[in-house]
Symmetry: C2
Subunit: 219 residues, 2 copies
């Protein structure tokens, strides 16, 4: 407690990039790379070297001017900075097509962030094991979530059901939600919601693709 982290004002964007750096570094480590410079990491992450250095300021590990950053130490520092000690269980609510895809996507990917339980209102899915994850009834959400100390959740239910699910999750003590439903969830301040809105993303792509097409055809 003496070494209390100063409440760093670090932006959401930076956290995203730090997570990206870590993933890139893991690949590099697998290739046997021992040291790396900020500009190399920047090239891989698609940003500038200055931004990499500034982001890394937050994690509290300094590289050497001569050898750059030691890959294993940097990974370790990022782990300390980003991960909860002891790992975090995640609940997934809504075992439809998207839910199943996400279950398989995350299976064995991040050992520190495992999907520990799935929930669905469809009685046919309840008690089945899907991609290695047990599916529970919605009625047992609070019980299972609290029993497993789950603080994070992924919502992959239809839009109409999303708010009710979010309320139930908050009630069960969840502090963070990754929301795939195309709705703005209303939650208390202490709960963090991250939206992934595929429709909006696709429309953004369509818009900007059209823009660059027009720009390109009229030089």
């Amino acid at each position: 407690m003496a070494a209390q982290k100063v409440a760093r004002l670090i932006s959401e964007r930076s956290i995203g990039r730090l997570s990206l750096y870590r993933r890139l570094l893991n690949v590099l480590q697998g290739e046997g790379v021992r040291n790396i410079y900020s500009h190399q990491l920047a090239a891989m992450a698609g940003c500038t070297a200055a931004q990499v250095r500034r982001d890394l300021m937050a994690v509290g590990y300094s590289g050497s001017p001569t050898h750059g950053y030691e890959v294993p130490r940097l990974i370790e520092s990022l782990r300390e900075f980003l991960d909860a000690p002891g790992g975090q269980g995640v609940a997934l609510v809504g075992v439809g097509n998207l839910g199943k895809a996400i279950l398989s996507y995350f299976t064995g990917r991040r050992p520190n962030l495992q999907i520990a339980a799935a929930f669905d209102s469809d009685p046919y899915k309840v008690n089945r094991v899907i991609h290695g994850c047990r599916c529970y009834s919605m009625e047992h959400l609070a019980e299972v979530a609290e029993g497993q100390g789950i603080r994070l959740a992924i919502i992959t239910v239809p839009a109409q059901a999303a708010q009710a699910v979010a309320d139930a999750l908050v009630q069960a003590g969840v502090r963070g939600i990754l929301n795939f439903a195309p709705v703005r969830l209303r939650v208390p301040d202490h709960v963090h919601v991250e939206d992934i809105d595929m429709t909006v993303s696709l429309e953004k792509v369509a818009y900007f693709a059209r823009q660059s097409a027009e720009r390109g055809s009229r030089p």
Copy 2:
């Protein structure tokens, strides 16, 4: 051509919000709402009224100070602003779990942005129809994409294959890519890439949930 749109410098963020507004408005229209004020839209979208008004400046439809915005006219203006005339075909590459989920997710959702063709390297999937969408072999990508005038694509292949797929798509004339693979794609400047990185998003949720938990426990 005389009415050439002034090259509005509109931010990526704004486009995302405009797309969100439109979706909210469609729901409202279904409920029979005729008029709406900026602050109501703001409450639903999770931003401020000033931001709604500023975003809407770009679309070129002015509301009335007394009745706010007419829902049908605003939807129409957003459609003109966001959508390509005549609709845009989209290709989906990678018919795995995630690809199938996305196919079912977009089926019949946005009539203007239909997934017109799917591609996979697995011969077992080729020529099957999945969620109403024909799956072609990767070899026919250029042929089918050009034949159908496809300019947009969604990548849902494993990370190792993503760059090769992106190259092939660009070669086939694709101008915008929605990329689910956890890799930074390298593409020419005239191609717009939008990344959806679920791992990064989940880690962001985990980080900020932990932050607010710590902040909450120490008031």
